[in-house]
């Protein structure tokens, strides 16, 4: 391919029978690249692959340079062919029982290279099936036929949607080797659900979510590649939140009391008043979003609740049944709160291992100063699994990327299943991938736990499902 031969989708929106839509796809495939398309179920990754083969109705945008001979192997296309065979059978023009089109004919009809076809038929063990009707094959067998059709059609681009699915071990092994060979001459786009099956020759990853192409990552950008992998893990793995530590039950709260009640709250310094006369009650299971411009006192307000602001002692504040300033200690308050903020991340400058960072959430400490129990270690390891960081328990916290640190601190905040989780701009300073990672995790927390979430953010696109109350500071 020459430079002119690069393939370009520009701001392309495509409709699929009104059932699904791809939006605003901009994507360039350069000569020499082999792409992996990744995404959760329903994200649109198969649709994007199919677009390369001309599927869908273009709504807007352009599509330039795509070759004529694009070979697509996918479940949809396989199903279509089987459906077509079935319709032939139902055509009922002749009063004979149709056997349907035999495999040999199905292959011959597209093959440009009979010699290759014969080789592949043997390699995939299809020779005994050549005379059988295509529609009578098993899913795996018909998949092999589809692959042979694709390989023998002299394609300029091979688009393979879940090519390894449903193949037996030997065929899988053969296919991987064959693709590796083929990659030297034919560009490929492969859709995979599982990252660990990603072939070595893949050079680029496209990450699709909700009909949009969100990330394009080079394979050799190890950090970005790992983040996409983790994002996929969080969105596709159906893990429960790990349980709390039964040995460390919090003193129970009176259900009649709100979690937080501020009456006429104010923060004042000698030369300015940040806010005053603020009344706010947070009931259990009532998720809140707090917003306001810089300097409006969002963080100050939160720290009145957490007890980190010294003026909590001169305000009328009731938290978790304690009237502040009546002899309670700050640790009695903090035990009910999970807290994440950029400031905390800056404070959390420790070289302890990831497992201990999570365990430190049981003690509300930065760093870990006591001996942890086996139960706590087990729980922390389950959190690492949830985050897609299995087995990395000894890795030093300060060696993680900023986004990974943030994820870990959210796990630390949640590990004790606090009645109140405070997230102060949890996406601040994160790139797109990490922002989605964090939001995916928070959403999981909101929908699967008894924790009340208090969420502070600026960005309207970082909405979280399930948060219905809103307090805006001026």
């Amino acid at each position: 391919m020459s430079d002119l031969d690069r393939w370009c989708l520009d701001a392309l929106s495509v409709d699929f029978d009104g059932r699904f839509q791809l939006d605003d796809i901009s994507w360039t495939i350069q000569p020499g690249e082999h792409w992996l398309i990744a995404g959760a179920n329903g994200s649109g990754k198969s649709a994007l692959a199919a677009v390369l083969a001309g599927a869908g109705d273009r709504l807007s945008g352009t599509c330039s340079g795509l070759p004529d001979r694009v070979a697509l192997v996918s479940y949809e296309q396989q199903a279509e062919l089987i459906e077509a065979e079935r319709r032939k059978d139902d055509a009922d023009i002749l009063d004979v029982i149709s056997e349907g089109t035999p495999v040999a004919e199905i292959i011959d009809s597209v093959s440009q290279d009979d010699e290759l076809a014969e080789t592949l038929i043997d390699a995939l063990g299809l020779r005994p099936l050549l005379d059988r009707a295509f529609r009578k094959l098993s899913t795996g067998e018909s998949r092999k036929v589809m692959l042979i059709r694709a390989f023998t059609s002299n394609p300029e681009l091979l688009v393979l949607d879940e090519p390894f699915d449903g193949l037996d071990h030997d065929s899988l092994w053969w296919l991987q080797a064959h693709l590796r060979d083929l990659a030297k001459t034919v560009p490929m786009v492969i859709v995979l659900n599982r990252f660990d099956e990603c072939p070595d020759f893949i050079t680029d990853v496209a990450y699709v979510d909700d009909g949009r192409l969100l990330h394009k990552v080079k394979r050799d950008d190890e950090r970005a590649f790992a983040e996409v992998r983790q994002l996929l893990h969080l969105q596709t793995t159906d893990l429960e939140l790990p349980p709390g530590d039964p040995a460390a039950q919090l003193p129970s709260l009176n259900d009649a009391d709100p979690l937080v009640r501020l009456t006429g709250a104010a923060i004042r310094y000698t030369d300015n008043t940040v806010f005053e006369d603020l009344d706010w009650t947070i009931e259990a299971n009532e998720h809140w979003q707090l917003s306001g411009p810089n300097g409006s006192g969002k963080t100050g307000l939160l720290s009145l609740i957490t007890g980190d602001h010294p003026q909590c002692y001169v305000n009328d504040i009731q938290v978790f049944g304690f009237q502040r300033g009546t002899g309670e200690s700050i640790w009695q308050i903090k035990q009910y709160i999970g807290y994440v903020s950029t400031a905390l991340q800056w404070e959390y400058r420790v070289s302890i291992g990831l497992r201990n960072v999570i365990i430190s959430g049981f003690y509300d400490s930065i760093g870990l100063y006591g001996k942890s129990t086996d139960a706590q270690k087990a729980i922390a390891d389950q959190w690492l699994d949830l985050l897609g960081m299995t087995g990395r328990f000894d890795e030093p916290f300060n060696s993680l990327s900023f986004g990974e640190q943030r994820l870990l601190l959210i796990a630390r905040a949640m590990v004790k299943h606090p009645p109140l989780l405070i997230l102060d701009e949890p996406c601040l300073g994160l790139d797109d991938i990490n922002r989605q990672l964090v939001l995916a995790l928070i959403e999981r927390i909101c929908t699967t736990s008894n924790t009340t979430v208090l969420y502070v953010n600026h960005r309207t696109q970082d909405q979280i499902r399930g948060i219905n109350n809103h307090l805006a500071l001026q």
Binding site: Q311, G327, E328, S329, V350, N356, Y363, S365, G367
Partner: protein, 490 residues
């Protein structure tokens, strides 16, 4: 007032000096109960005063601040500190008569004045707390018989006291009860509760005496902690410049070098610090340290002797009476030194390079730590105290130099420490003059050139044995072991 220590018979002097016991976490199960519901009034709202107060209040205690009427009327910084943090602030007359515990967190030199003023206002049976025993031990302040006198001394700057508490930890803390003033026998319970309130119990509490605290604290800060680091900084910098090393590099190597090499000290004592050097470098550092110990030994003894006899404190009190003329003059001189005035260069120095190119600095730390420890224990101070006041605190002071050179160190430490540091520095720089003449860049600035990295086995074994068997290493291993349970997991 007479020097209290000098009024004691030798038997009691030795007994008081030998008091020092590492307390175990299970001795603090009563938490802050002994102070619960009591009215704590802090005098002074500087770094220690404010930060201790924040911790005590967050531990559920009733804390307020008293300032002189002028400080309140003029809304001085101390008034702002207290007020913006939501504390009640009042005059001595308003708050002291109802106070159960009065925490005197003013600078040493104000103690006599402050204590004489407040004592008549304090209610019968109240408690007066110090965080340094100078006023009692060196100035001989007599406290009313009905008042309980205790000391709670976090062994860190005020900002660290707060930062560690917020992290859920604390800083090592020394507590003591003044035996002459414990009328109800509640001094220890109050001191323990206070230590818990500041978070100190989590990091380790030493039960000591006023005498041991003063005599060891003065010795440590004057010699190894501040004096040796200041002297070493100036000598090493000037030597590197003389030998043609880039000034920015030299400045950086020293400014961050102390912190880096003493970090190794913190984790594993002198042994670990020396082990960070290559074998030939270790032997070099060992020999240099031995040579310096011979040269500096008499100076360490003089400092300890002057501290014991009270000559040091009376000399410093003369300077107080003379408007700190000497202190201020020395402070100004330090600001003018070449090291202080040369910015750290924008050069990358790896962690290991600080060791490899700073062999002399490692040797200075080793010599200073060992000498201070030996001199203190020779004078009757128990090994535990001597360890904390020498090796243990060295990294803390080194951190302050890393932040902003000698200026930051001298700004952070007390005036008492600063005064002693200058005394030491002025004697030690000329003392090491001849020694420094033979120093070349192989031990400061460039590192050894390894034509041959081989060492003699017998010599290496001998050196290792000498390092590891030094008494400061023996007690250090034991104390670091005690603290392992409560120490942060690193």
């Amino acid at each position: 007032m007479a020097n209290y220590f000098n009024t004691l018979p030798l038997r009691l002097q030795l007994a008081e000096l030998a008091k020092c016991r590492f307390m175990h976490l299970d001795e603090f199960t009563e938490g802050v109960d002994a102070l619960k519901g009591k009215k704590l009034v802090i005098i002074g709202c500087g770094a220690q005063g404010l930060n201790q107060g924040l911790n005590l209040r967050d531990s559920g205690l009733d804390v307020s601040y008293t300032l002189r009427a002028a400080a309140i009327d003029e809304k001085r910084q101390s008034w702002k500190n207290a007020t913006e943090n939501g504390f009640t602030v009042g005059t001595y007359e308003e708050l002291l008569p109802t106070a159960d515990v009065v925490l005197n967190l003013t600078p040493d030199k104000q103690h006599t004045n402050v204590v004489n003023t407040i004592m008549p206002m304090m209610k019968h049976g109240a408690c007066l707390s110090y965080s340094h025993g100078f006023n009692i031990v060196e100035e001989g302040m007599q406290i009313r018989d009905d008042i309980t006198v205790i000391m709670v001394a976090p062994k860190c700057p005020g900002s660290e006291v707060r930062a560690e508490y917020v992290r859920g930890f604390g800083v090592p803390t020394l507590i003591a009860v003044h035996e002459d003033n414990d009328p109800n026998g509640e001094g220890l319970a109050l001191a323990k509760a206070y230590a818990v309130g500041t978070g100190g119990h989590k990091a380790g509490v030493l039960m000591s005496s006023f005498v041991a605290e003063v005599k060891s604290d003065l010795m440590g800060e004057q010699t190894i902690l501040c004096g040796m680091l200041q002297t070493g900084s100036l000598l090493c910098f000037d030597k590197m410049i003389e030998e043609g090393i880039d000034a920015g590099y030299a400045s950086k190597l020293i400014q961050y070098g102390w912190e880096t090499v003493t970090e190794a000290l913190k984790y594993g004592g002198v042994t670990n610090m020396m082990d960070r050097l290559s074998n030939p470098a270790k032997i070099r550092a060992f020999d240099l340290a031995e040579e310096m110990k011979d040269i500096m030994g008499p100076l360490y003894q003089k400092h300890q002797d002057d501290i014991m006899t009270g000559a040091f404190s009376s000399g410093m009190m003369d300077d107080w009476a003379n408007d700190d003329a000497k202190l201020l003059g020395w402070r100004a001189d330090t600001a003018e030194t070449a090291f202080e005035k040369t910015e750290a260069g924008d050069v990358e120095i790896s962690e290991q390079e600080y060791f490899d190119n700073g062999i002399l600095m490692v040797a200075m730390v080793k010599a200073g730590v060992e000498l201070a420890f030996e001199t203190m224990t020779d004078a009757g101070i128990i090994a535990d105290s001597a360890y904390y006041e020498s090796l243990h605190e060295t990294p803390l002071i080194a951190n302050t130099i890393a932040r902003k050179k000698l200026y930051e160190m001298n700004a952070t430490i007390s005036d008492t420490a600063e005064y002693g540091c200058y005394l030491y520095n002025h004697a030690c720089v000329p003392l090491l003059g001849d020694f420094m003449k033979d120093i070349k860049t192989d031990v400061i600035g460039k590192g050894l050139e390894f034509a041959d990295t081989g060492v003699d086995n017998a010599r290496l074994i001998e050196v290792n044995e000498a390092i590891r068997s030094h008494p400061v290493e023996v007690i250090g291993a034991e104390l670091r072991g005690y603290m392992a349970d409560m120490k942060r997991i690193i």
